[in-house]
Protein backbone atom coordinates (compact mmCIF):
# COMPACT_ATOMS: atom_id res chain seq x y z
CA UNK A 1 0.00 0.00 0.00
CA UNK A 2 2.85 2.40 0.79
CA UNK A 3 4.20 1.98 -2.74
CA UNK A 4 0.84 2.83 -4.26
CA UNK A 5 0.53 5.90 -2.04
CA UNK A 6 4.02 6.97 -3.08
CA UNK A 7 3.00 6.58 -6.73
CA UNK A 8 -0.14 8.61 -6.15
CA UNK A 9 1.83 11.32 -4.35
CA UNK A 10 4.27 11.38 -7.26
CA UNK A 11 1.40 11.72 -9.70
CA UNK A 12 -0.04 14.66 -7.73
CA UNK A 13 3.40 16.24 -7.59
CA UNK A 14 3.86 16.00 -11.36
CA UNK A 15 0.50 17.56 -12.05
CA UNK A 16 1.10 20.33 -9.56
CA UNK A 17 4.56 21.02 -10.92
CA UNK A 18 3.06 21.32 -14.38
CA UNK A 19 0.53 23.86 -13.07
CA UNK A 20 3.28 25.71 -11.22
CA UNK A 21 5.70 25.88 -14.14
CA UNK A 22 7.90 28.91 -13.80
CA UNK A 23 7.29 29.16 -10.07
CA UNK A 24 10.11 29.04 -7.57
CA UNK A 25 11.40 25.81 -6.12
CA UNK A 26 9.91 26.78 -2.78
CA UNK A 27 6.39 27.03 -4.19
CA UNK A 28 6.85 23.74 -6.02
CA UNK A 29 8.09 22.14 -2.77
CA UNK A 30 5.04 23.38 -0.89
CA UNK A 31 2.76 22.05 -3.59
CA UNK A 32 4.55 18.71 -3.48
CA UNK A 33 4.13 18.56 0.31
CA UNK A 34 0.42 19.15 -0.09
CA UNK A 35 0.22 16.45 -2.77
CA UNK A 36 1.86 14.03 -0.37
CA UNK A 37 -0.51 15.00 2.44
CA UNK A 38 -3.50 14.41 0.15
CA UNK A 39 -2.18 11.07 -1.04
CA UNK A 40 -1.58 9.86 2.51
CA UNK A 41 -5.05 11.02 3.53
CA UNK A 42 -6.53 8.97 0.69
CA UNK A 43 -4.69 5.95 2.00
CA UNK A 44 -5.98 6.48 5.53
CA UNK A 45 -9.55 6.86 4.28
CA UNK A 46 -9.08 3.66 2.32
CA UNK A 47 -7.97 1.94 5.52
CA UNK A 48 -11.05 3.15 7.38
CA UNK A 49 -13.25 1.76 4.61
CA UNK A 50 -11.44 -1.55 4.57
CA UNK A 51 -11.85 -2.00 8.32
CA UNK A 52 -15.52 -1.04 8.15
CA UNK A 53 -14.98 1.92 10.44
CA UNK A 54 -16.72 4.26 7.99
CA UNK A 55 -19.47 3.74 5.46
CA UNK A 56 -19.16 4.59 1.76
CA UNK A 57 -21.13 7.76 2.43
CA UNK A 58 -18.81 8.78 5.26
CA UNK A 59 -15.74 8.01 3.20
CA UNK A 60 -17.12 10.18 0.42
CA UNK A 61 -17.48 13.11 2.83
CA UNK A 62 -13.97 12.52 4.21
CA UNK A 63 -12.57 12.61 0.68
CA UNK A 64 -14.42 15.83 -0.04
CA UNK A 65 -12.91 17.34 3.12
CA UNK A 66 -9.39 16.48 1.99
CA UNK A 67 -10.02 18.02 -1.42
CA UNK A 68 -11.40 21.17 0.21
CA UNK A 69 -8.28 21.42 2.36
CA UNK A 70 -5.93 20.90 -0.57
CA UNK A 71 -7.78 23.48 -2.58
CA UNK A 72 -7.45 26.01 0.26
CA UNK A 73 -3.73 25.24 0.61
CA UNK A 74 -3.00 25.45 -3.11
CA UNK A 75 -5.04 28.60 -3.54
CA UNK A 76 -3.08 30.14 -0.66
CA UNK A 77 0.13 29.17 -2.43
CA UNK A 78 -1.17 30.80 -5.57
CA UNK A 79 -1.94 33.86 -3.48
CA UNK A 80 1.67 34.30 -2.42
CA UNK A 81 3.09 33.59 -5.85
CA UNK A 82 2.27 35.08 -9.20
CA UNK A 83 0.55 32.22 -10.95
CA UNK A 84 -2.90 32.72 -12.40
CA UNK A 85 -4.42 31.14 -9.39
CA UNK A 86 -7.86 29.70 -9.58
CA UNK A 87 -7.78 28.06 -12.98
CA UNK A 88 -4.30 26.61 -12.56
CA UNK A 89 -5.00 25.28 -9.09
CA UNK A 90 -8.32 23.80 -10.11
CA UNK A 91 -6.89 22.10 -13.15
CA UNK A 92 -3.93 20.77 -11.17
CA UNK A 93 -6.19 19.32 -8.54
CA UNK A 94 -8.60 17.82 -11.06
CA UNK A 95 -5.85 16.47 -13.28
CA UNK A 96 -3.92 15.15 -10.31
CA UNK A 97 -6.87 13.31 -8.91
CA UNK A 98 -7.94 12.01 -12.31
CA UNK A 99 -4.41 10.93 -13.16
CA UNK A 100 -3.93 9.23 -9.84
CA UNK A 101 -7.29 7.51 -10.10
CA UNK A 102 -6.48 6.36 -13.62
CA UNK A 103 -3.12 4.93 -12.62
CA UNK A 104 -4.81 2.97 -9.87
CA UNK A 105 -7.38 1.63 -12.31
CA UNK A 106 -10.24 3.49 -10.68
CA UNK A 107 -12.58 6.08 -12.08
CA UNK A 108 -13.46 7.90 -8.88
CA UNK A 109 -11.96 8.96 -5.58
CA UNK A 110 -13.82 6.42 -3.52
CA UNK A 111 -12.63 3.64 -5.80
CA UNK A 112 -9.13 5.00 -5.51
CA UNK A 113 -9.32 4.97 -1.72
CA UNK A 114 -10.49 1.34 -1.86
CA UNK A 115 -7.56 0.46 -4.07
CA UNK A 116 -5.19 2.12 -1.64
CA UNK A 117 -6.76 0.22 1.22
CA UNK A 118 -6.37 -3.07 -0.63
Amino acid sequence: MQEVITDIAHSFALELQHALQGESRQVAALARAEGEALAHALGRIGGLLLRGEVSDEEAGVLLRIQRDASEAVLASLAQVSRIAASRAVASALEAGVAGAAGSAGQSDLLGLARTLAG
Partner: protein
Protein backbone atom coordinates in the same frame (compact mmCIF):
# COMPACT_ATOMS: atom_id res chain seq x y z
CA UNK B 1 0.24 14.27 8.83
CA UNK B 2 1.75 16.50 11.49
CA UNK B 3 5.09 16.14 9.78
CA UNK B 4 3.57 17.25 6.48
CA UNK B 5 1.99 20.28 8.13
CA UNK B 6 5.24 21.15 9.86
CA UNK B 7 7.09 20.83 6.58
CA UNK B 8 4.68 23.24 4.90
CA UNK B 9 5.13 25.78 7.70
CA UNK B 10 8.92 25.45 7.67
CA UNK B 11 9.00 25.84 3.91
CA UNK B 12 6.74 28.88 4.07
CA UNK B 13 9.01 30.42 6.70
CA UNK B 14 12.16 29.72 4.69
CA UNK B 15 10.41 31.06 1.62
CA UNK B 16 10.02 34.41 3.32
CA UNK B 17 13.44 34.42 4.94
CA UNK B 18 15.13 33.67 1.66
CA UNK B 19 13.58 36.78 0.23
CA UNK B 20 12.04 34.84 -2.60
CA UNK B 21 8.59 36.11 -1.85
CA UNK B 22 7.69 39.42 -3.34
CA UNK B 23 4.80 40.82 -1.33
CA UNK B 24 2.49 42.35 -3.88
CA UNK B 25 0.46 44.33 -1.37
CA UNK B 26 0.38 44.78 2.39
CA UNK B 27 -0.34 41.76 4.61
CA UNK B 28 -3.94 41.25 5.70
CA UNK B 29 -3.71 40.82 9.50
CA UNK B 30 -7.49 40.54 9.87
CA UNK B 31 -7.63 37.56 7.52
CA UNK B 32 -4.62 36.01 9.26
CA UNK B 33 -6.31 36.48 12.62
CA UNK B 34 -9.55 34.89 11.39
CA UNK B 35 -7.61 31.90 10.03
CA UNK B 36 -5.69 31.55 13.28
CA UNK B 37 -8.94 31.65 15.25
CA UNK B 38 -10.36 28.82 13.15
CA UNK B 39 -7.18 26.80 13.67
CA UNK B 40 -7.11 27.32 17.45
CA UNK B 41 -10.78 26.49 17.95
CA UNK B 42 -10.58 23.41 15.74
CA UNK B 43 -7.48 22.08 17.49
CA UNK B 44 -9.11 22.46 20.90
CA UNK B 45 -12.39 20.93 19.74
CA UNK B 46 -10.91 17.87 18.04
CA UNK B 47 -8.58 17.17 20.97
CA UNK B 48 -11.61 17.07 23.28
CA UNK B 49 -13.73 15.12 20.80
CA UNK B 50 -11.11 12.39 20.50
CA UNK B 51 -11.36 11.75 24.25
CA UNK B 52 -15.14 12.11 24.59
CA UNK B 53 -17.25 8.99 25.29
CA UNK B 54 -20.82 8.52 24.05
CA UNK B 55 -23.09 10.42 24.11
CA UNK B 56 -20.81 13.48 24.43
CA UNK B 57 -19.02 12.43 21.24
CA UNK B 58 -22.21 12.46 19.14
CA UNK B 59 -22.97 15.20 16.67
CA UNK B 60 -25.96 16.45 18.65
CA UNK B 61 -23.74 17.28 21.62
CA UNK B 62 -21.27 19.18 19.45
CA UNK B 63 -23.48 21.09 17.06
CA UNK B 64 -22.43 24.40 18.62
CA UNK B 65 -18.85 23.95 17.48
CA UNK B 66 -19.93 23.49 13.88
CA UNK B 67 -22.21 26.52 14.05
CA UNK B 68 -19.29 28.57 15.31
CA UNK B 69 -16.88 27.15 12.75
CA UNK B 70 -19.31 27.99 9.97
CA UNK B 71 -19.69 31.55 11.28
CA UNK B 72 -15.91 32.00 11.46
CA UNK B 73 -15.34 30.56 7.99
CA UNK B 74 -18.12 32.72 6.57
CA UNK B 75 -16.57 35.76 8.23
CA UNK B 76 -13.21 34.93 6.63
CA UNK B 77 -14.79 34.42 3.21
CA UNK B 78 -16.78 37.65 3.51
CA UNK B 79 -13.76 39.60 4.72
CA UNK B 80 -11.67 38.48 1.74
CA UNK B 81 -14.47 39.38 -0.66
CA UNK B 82 -15.09 42.78 0.91
CA UNK B 83 -11.38 43.59 0.94
CA UNK B 84 -11.22 42.80 -2.76
CA UNK B 85 -8.64 40.08 -2.19
CA UNK B 86 -7.16 38.25 -5.17
CA UNK B 87 -9.22 35.51 -6.85
CA UNK B 88 -6.81 32.99 -5.33
CA UNK B 89 -7.35 34.31 -1.82
CA UNK B 90 -11.10 34.31 -2.31
CA UNK B 91 -10.92 30.78 -3.63
CA UNK B 92 -9.08 29.75 -0.46
CA UNK B 93 -11.81 31.40 1.61
CA UNK B 94 -14.53 29.59 -0.32
CA UNK B 95 -12.71 26.30 0.14
CA UNK B 96 -12.49 26.92 3.90
CA UNK B 97 -16.23 27.59 4.05
CA UNK B 98 -16.96 24.35 2.17
CA UNK B 99 -14.58 22.60 4.54
CA UNK B 100 -16.54 23.89 7.53
CA UNK B 101 -19.76 22.47 6.05
CA UNK B 102 -18.17 19.17 5.12
CA UNK B 103 -16.63 18.49 8.54
CA UNK B 104 -20.10 19.02 10.00
CA UNK B 105 -21.55 16.56 7.47
CA UNK B 106 -18.84 14.08 8.34
CA UNK B 107 -19.73 14.12 12.03
CA UNK B 108 -23.47 13.98 11.29
CA UNK B 109 -23.02 10.97 9.03
CA UNK B 110 -20.85 9.16 11.57
CA UNK B 111 -23.31 9.77 14.41
CA UNK B 112 -26.27 8.62 12.32
CA UNK B 113 -24.70 5.19 11.88
CA UNK B 114 -24.91 3.23 15.11
CA UNK B 115 -24.18 -0.30 13.91
CA UNK B 116 -20.39 0.01 13.86
CA UNK B 117 -17.75 -0.33 16.56
CA UNK B 118 -17.74 3.40 17.28
CA UNK B 119 -21.49 3.84 17.77
CA UNK B 120 -22.42 7.54 17.59
CA UNK B 121 -18.76 8.60 17.85
CA UNK B 122 -16.55 9.31 14.88
CA UNK B 123 -13.75 6.87 14.18
CA UNK B 124 -10.56 8.23 15.82
CA UNK B 125 -8.72 8.30 12.50
CA UNK B 126 -11.59 10.20 10.90
CA UNK B 127 -11.32 12.78 13.68
CA UNK B 128 -7.58 13.04 13.03
CA UNK B 129 -8.14 13.42 9.28
CA UNK B 130 -10.67 16.20 9.74
CA UNK B 131 -8.52 17.98 12.31
CA UNK B 132 -5.55 17.79 9.97
CA UNK B 133 -7.56 19.08 6.99
CA UNK B 134 -8.73 22.13 8.94
CA UNK B 135 -5.26 22.77 10.33
CA UNK B 136 -3.64 22.49 6.88
CA UNK B 137 -6.10 24.90 5.30
CA UNK B 138 -6.04 27.39 8.19
CA UNK B 139 -2.22 27.37 8.41
CA UNK B 140 -1.87 28.04 4.70
CA UNK B 141 -4.37 30.90 4.74
CA UNK B 142 -2.75 32.30 7.87
CA UNK B 143 0.72 32.19 6.34
CA UNK B 144 -0.35 33.70 3.03
CA UNK B 145 -2.08 36.60 4.72
CA UNK B 146 0.66 37.16 7.28
CA UNK B 147 3.25 37.61 4.57
CA UNK B 148 1.41 39.85 2.20
CA UNK B 149 -0.46 38.77 -0.85
CA UNK B 150 -1.76 39.81 -4.17
Amino acid sequence: MFASRLRVLVLLASFTLAGCLLPLTAPDPAAAELARGIDNNARQFYAQLAAAPAPQCAYAANENFYDRLHREAAALRDHLAQRGASPAAQRAGEAMLRLSNDVRASHQTASARLDDQHGPCMAPQAIALNADALARAAAAIFSANSQGAE
